[in-house]
Every structure is written in C-alpha cells, then in structure tokens.
C-alpha cells in the first residue's frame, strides 16, 4: 500500500520537500485494533506544530515516520468486539491507503446523519473544538457580539453557527468573497469581513460590531486579532484556538502589546486544546449530530482527490484554499 513518509522538517513555510510517498506492507491489527481502508483523510493546521522539533502539547513527528492524521473508512479486519468488518469508523490514523486504529479511540460513523467527510469536520475533531472552545471557554451569552476569525474553516464555521444558536450577533472574518457570502447567506452570520479586500480592520469592526466585541474566537492571530482587541467590551472573553498566521514564522512574531488592553476591559484570554475535553467527546459529537440532522448546523467540505495530493491539500490550508473542512479522498 502507499503512505506518506515525513521526509524532512520545514523551516518557515513548508513545501513538498517534507513529504515522500512510499510503498509499505499493509499493517496487521493487534488485539483492540482495527484495520481500516481509508476513504477520507484529514489535513489540519495543527499538523504544522507537529512538524516542529520542539516541546509542545503533542509529540513532534519523527522524520522517517508515516504521517499521522484523522481518517474515516471501512473496517476490513477487526481485533475488537466493538466493530465488525464493514463498519464505518472515524479515528486517528495515518496518511495511507490502510490505517490501523485503536478501537477505543474510534467513533462510529452514521452516513444517514451526514456524508463521510463531515466526520472529519463538524462531526469530528474540528466540530468538537468549536463546541468546547465556544461553549466552555468563551461562554457566550444571548445578545453577545461574537467575532470569529478563520470563520469559513471547519472550526470557525461551526463556532459561528453555535453562537447563533446561543442568541448571539455573529461576525466572521474570512479571506474571499465566496467565503463571506457563504457565512452570511447560508450560515446566518450577521456580518462578515473579507480581510483580503479590507484596508482598515478597525473601521470594518466599527461597522460590523458597533456595540463592541464580547467574545472573540481566534483561529488566526496577526492584524485581525490586533484590531479585535481594540474593541473588547468589559468582561470580554477571548478563546485562543489557533494562530495560523504565525505557524510558519521563523522568528518570534511581534505586534502591539495586548496586556494593557485587558485591564480596563477586565477581559479574559484563554488558550485551549480539544484533547483536554476527551471525556466529553462522545457527548459533544452526539449533540453536533443532532444539530446537523435537524438542519440547525450546516457544513461544507473541500475535497482534494487522491492520496497523492494530500501534501497539496495540507499546504493549501496556509493560503486559505479550503471552504469548510479540507479533506482528501483516498478511496470511494
């Protein structure tokens, strides 16, 4: 079978040089494991952190290993009573045609609720990230103005819709007119800002968030975040989910100091990781499945065809190629 091997650590912006497609023996599942034929593979911004050889929350990828990532596929060999051959499952696998999953970590996929790729997006790790980051970390209240950066991504698009369900005014920030139109026309966002065509971010937020910002869900960092911090209301809450604008930085990035802005606003800024909410992951997925089934939460996936294009799909995350969740179709 074919799988992607991690060839070298990037400096700054990653390139195709970090990836090498190789032939491997198809692995054999042990007790408690499942062999899955991968249908869809997930590429996510957090993977840039794992390419770095530094202490972080996740073990860095070792050069020479097969790349790891979320997958959805069909069980072809089962070492667990929990799943039978033919079952559809999602879980943590590899960038490969076949992947061994830990049965305890896998989750069932119900194609009646949504197509398979959604289980890598709104019904997978990104959806849970939105759920816990918004509801547990940012604690939105009805009437709050909620700003989301990276709003047309898998996490951001779910955050904005959850905030609408919570009775908030929602402002999304994204990088194309197609994306901002999706946010306002299809997802019910109250306003959306195209940061690529906006010169003055502060003026844009004056228009889009005239009563200031109560919650900021930040996936991006950089100048958008700088502008939002000047608009924080008293008791504002900032959930720091990602900082994709800085992931490829070769030196420590600098910008306006933000701590002085937190005193008068008594704002709270908190970083979080979805993995800290693992004990509630099933409950969150079931809630999200309910909203998707009821049509309360819409979702979209951008599909790149073929395992051989997985690195392109990953690199495209940093130029904002994806609308909604970026996935790779490995097999039908």
């Amino acid at each position: 079978m074919r799988a992607w091997h991690f060839a070298e650590r990037p400096d700054g912006e990653p390139t195709l040089d970090s990836f090498e497609l190789r032939e491997y023996e198809r692995p054999t599942p042990r007790h408690g494991e499942l062999l899955v034929r991968v249908r869809y593979l997930s590429v996510d911004p957090y993977m840039r952190g794992r390419m770095r050889d530094a202490d972080s929350y996740a073990e860095p990828w070792a050069v020479g290993d097969v790349l790891r990532g979320g997958v959805v596929g069909e069980v072809v060999e089962s070492g667990s009573d929990r799943y039978a051959v033919g079952d559809l499952v999602a879980g943590r696998g590899t960038w490969a045609e076949y992947s061994v999953l830990d049965a305890d970590d896998a989750t069932p996929v119900d194609p009646e609720v949504a197509d398979l790729p959604a289980y890598l997006g709104v019904l997978g790790m990104p959806g849970r990230t939105a759920y816990f980051g918004l509801l547990d970390v940012a604690e939105p209240r009805p009437g709050d103005t909620v700003v989301v950066s990276g709003a047309a991504g898998a996490v951001g698009s779910t955050v904005g819709q959850l905030a609408k369900l919570n009775g908030c005014r929602v402002v999304g920030v994204a990088g194309t007119d197609e994306k901002t139109a999706w946010l306002t026309d299809d997802l019910g966002f109250d306003a959306a800002i195209n940061y690529e065509t906006t010169d003055d971010y502060r003026a844009a937020f004056d228009d889009a968030a005239p009563d200031g910002v109560d919650v900021y869900f930040d996936n991006v960092g950089g100048p958008i975040t700088d502008a939002v911090f000047t608009k924080l209301n008293v008791d504002a809450r900032v959930a720091v989910c990602g900082q994709i604008a800085h992931y490829n930085a070769e030196a420590v990035p600098t910008g306006p100091r933000k701590l002085p802005q937190l005193i008068a606003s008594r704002a709270t800024v908190k970083g979080f990781l979805v993995t800290d909410y693992a004990t509630r992951a099933d409950a969150a997925r079931e809630r999200l499945e309910g909203w998707v089934r009821a049509g309360d939460i819409s979702h979209r996936e951008t599909v790149v065809e073929g395992l051989e294009h997985a690195p392109d799909a990953f690199l495209g995350l940093f130029s904002g190629e994806n609308v909604g969740k970026q996935v790779v179709r490995v097999a039908e």
Copy 2:
C-alpha cells in the same frame, strides 16, 4: 488651605508642569460627608491613566480640577452619624490639606493595628488589589510557583506574602538590591530577581522558577513579562493588575506576540480592577487587618514629607523610588 491643581495633561513621561499648588477655601461638608484634616495622601500608578483624556474605566481628571486620591486623616467636621469629630478615617479625597470624604465610602482606621500610612497601602486599596487579584483572579494552589512583578511595591509585596500563606513558591521581581533583599530576607519570598542588574531574564527565571510558572501577577509589563510568558506551565493563570512600563508610552507599545504561547499552556490571562470587588472591600480589609495584627503580613511605606512634594512622590513611582507603599505626609 493649599491643594494641588491639575495644570496640564502630560505627553509621555509626566513632569512637574502638570501640577500647580494653589490656595483654596477650606470646603464645607454636606449631609453624609466628612471634612478631614489630611495626615497622609496616597500617590498611585493608576493616576497616570486619569491624566489621559481617553475613554477608560475611570473618568479622566479634568484640567483645572483639584487632584484626587486616597487620604487618611482626622474628622474635623462631620455630616454623618457614622463618624464623630476626632475619628481617624481613610477614603477617597484630594491632594490637599483638608478633604471632603463621602462617609459611606470612608473606612475606619485603627492605629492599634498599624500606623496610619498602612491604611493607604496593605490595609487600603493596594492591599485589596493584591487580595482580589491573587485570590479571586489568579486562584493560587499550594505548591504553585507564583511570580510577581513590581514585587516591592504596595500591591506586589502583599501579593507575594498572600501567596506564601497559600503554600506557594514565590519569586519577586524588583529594581534594586535593597528591594530584593527585603523580599527574601523580611517577607519570606523564595527568590527575587533584580531586573536592573539582570541581563538575561529567561535565564534568571530558569534559576528562580525551575519548575515553571503557575501564576504570574503582573504589575509591570515589558520584557519581564515577555520572559515570564515563555515559562508558563499548563493551566497557568496570569492576573494583569498594572502595566507601569507602558503607562507613559506615546505610541502603542509592541513586543513579542503572546497568544501563540497560550495554546499549548492552556493559560488564562485576565485583567481586573479592584473597584469591581467593592461589595467585598470591607471583608477583605478585615482579613488583611487580621494578618497584619498576627504578624503574618509585613508592610513598609516610603514617606515623602510635605504636601508640596506630592508631585515628586508621584513621579518617583515611575523610577521605582518607593519601597512598599509611597505616601506623602501632609500633617502630623
């Protein structure tokens, strides 16, 4: 009587040009008010913010007004049943020989517990700032490493001692060897860093906080804060009390971006104002009086003699002249 008049708003570093000592009629208290002969007057870093004509949590001072500030003194005329002539009280007054206080806002002063200036420091607003900022905002746990900047000031010296009472390892940052010696030798801090004689702040924290930082109580901002943020442990809490390093900045100060550091650490950064805890102010003062009486919390005041030197005392805050609380003796 003499009082200080706010003559002009400073740009950047304030100078004596902002202050003018004038003769005024002695004011008359109305119903619910007290006329107090001022014994001691407080100068505090937050006053720099009130000199700025900008939206903030406090009404800016109006040019031409008498300057306002905390005072302790003796009631010479009472419009309230709560206090009699001769009582010692503390409250919000003016930079003047006589001051009218709101009786509801005044607090009784007990010279058996501590000398009068302590009621402007550990038993006044700075002590309450330390109490609520550490205990409510930063929530220290036994065994935590707590770092305090501005540690030899009125707030910082109380924070460190409260953290010791909570079973924490405490590291203070201050600007002279006299101050660091006071922290470690008299107040029981576990370590202290003199930032004026330290070249490499990160190395200094590697030594002083070898297990990383669980709580950072920030009075200062700037490069000390930049170094502490690189040492935050998982679940760290940062209470942003003051940012004196930036109060005189003429443009928005820049520095290393901190949001990327909050994700892996899941740290929480929160600004606060002591005024938000007004309903619990009396309870806090009583707790602090108990600790001072029992000798569990020590305090120190730096006294400048004479109302005519109040502006010098204020300006000295920005060069770190004070050890403990800076006060001005107006009358004996």
